[in-house]
Amino acid sequence: MTKQQANWSPYDNNGGSCVAIAGADYCVIAADTRMSTGYNILTREYSKICKLADKCVMASSGFQADVKALQKQLAARHLIYQHQHNKQMNCPAMAQLLSNTLYYKRFFPYYSFNVLGGLDNEGKGCVFTYDAVGSYEKVGYSSQGSGSTLIMPFLDNQLKSPSPLLLPVQDAVTPLVEAEAVNLVKTVFASASERDIYTGDKLEIVVVTADGIRREYMELRKD
């Protein structure tokens, strides 16, 4: 008598794409608002972006229940940090916390593909990109999710960050101004929506600057 196999999966892919671009004094984080399962659309207005701290915003795509649980975990840990240190966590610190939180579930992972964006202590834009088990690096720009294979090559072409291995160390942040970066993001999502069935409906753009956080929306293809 063979052991019964489970006929359900604890994971699902709810699709979607995320992008983040770091600038000299700003950071743009964007994600579409479509939530799908299989060939169905569950809802057209679901936000994949979460504000973790004053100057730190995360966009995640993948399995929505895991993403929600991860966001809750980070929010709770941030609250404890604020109680203990009487200040908000800065972006690089949150980046490390996210990595550790993901690796903690290395043997039953959060199916969550994240990009973290914000301003570091000097007010310069920073972007961190992750895989599902916490491997991360600081980059000038990144994309994750179902449309990332379509988006990333285009960003490489337009933004081409210098390698962090070069000496002297070169700046990873893009020389583009905020308006140009936001335009680039809109272009990139419009393109991804054409060919990726899981990307579309609406684009949510969050811009983090010294003055605070600004939100913008753009309609995308609904098919």
Binding site: L42, T43, A65, A69, F108
Partner: protein, 244 residues
Amino acid sequence: MQFMASKQPENSLLGPESDSQRTLYPYVTGTSVVALKYKDGILMAADMGGSYGSTLRYKSVERMKPIGKHSLLGASGEISDFQEILHYLDELILYDNMWDDGNSLGPKEVHNYLTRVMYNRRNKFNPLWNSLVLGGVKNGQKYLGTVSMIGVNFEDNHVATGFGNHLARPILRQEWHENLSFEDGVRLLEKCMRVLLYRDRSAINKLQIAKITEEGSTISQPYSLKTYWEFSAFANPAQGAVGS
């Protein structure tokens, strides 16, 4: 909460005895639940069938129940797991009432609680095999959300479970608009339920429609939908068939 016959640890990966304590597949199931927001609150519809595989075993199953003062819960999937969830919610509402502070759990809070319960059971590889719809009104704010058996949740202006996602959502996307009147809302739900009746083999023609507003909730008496079979193709179905 769970009574263990054996002394095996609950989530042991070794040994067949502990696996027999986990949900493998559903036994008695309910089919789609459909719900939408309308002018005064939420309207929800579900039929009263409880299927045992392909057998229509139970025909008077109430798959929608009021929760506290402000919410309505509809469930599809395993009926016994739905009853378990109602038991958890009874306790939740009881403790909320025992504070006796004039405050009460709204639909957002109940939905969040249910999401956590479903997700935690999925983490232990012992899911509650349900897709839940939670709707309600509190302080004038309408809320309609859904949770799946693995914890995927969201809120929207209209939701459906199971076959409803395939057959009802497209109709709702086309015809739903803000501030539907009660009559229009019911008409729209009945349109969805009729399509499900025609096309979902586990649907039965005995349904209830539930309404929840700021004033409270009501669940209608069971009734049937009129169906139309006078299509010319059905008049002489074997005409032109091979061998007839």
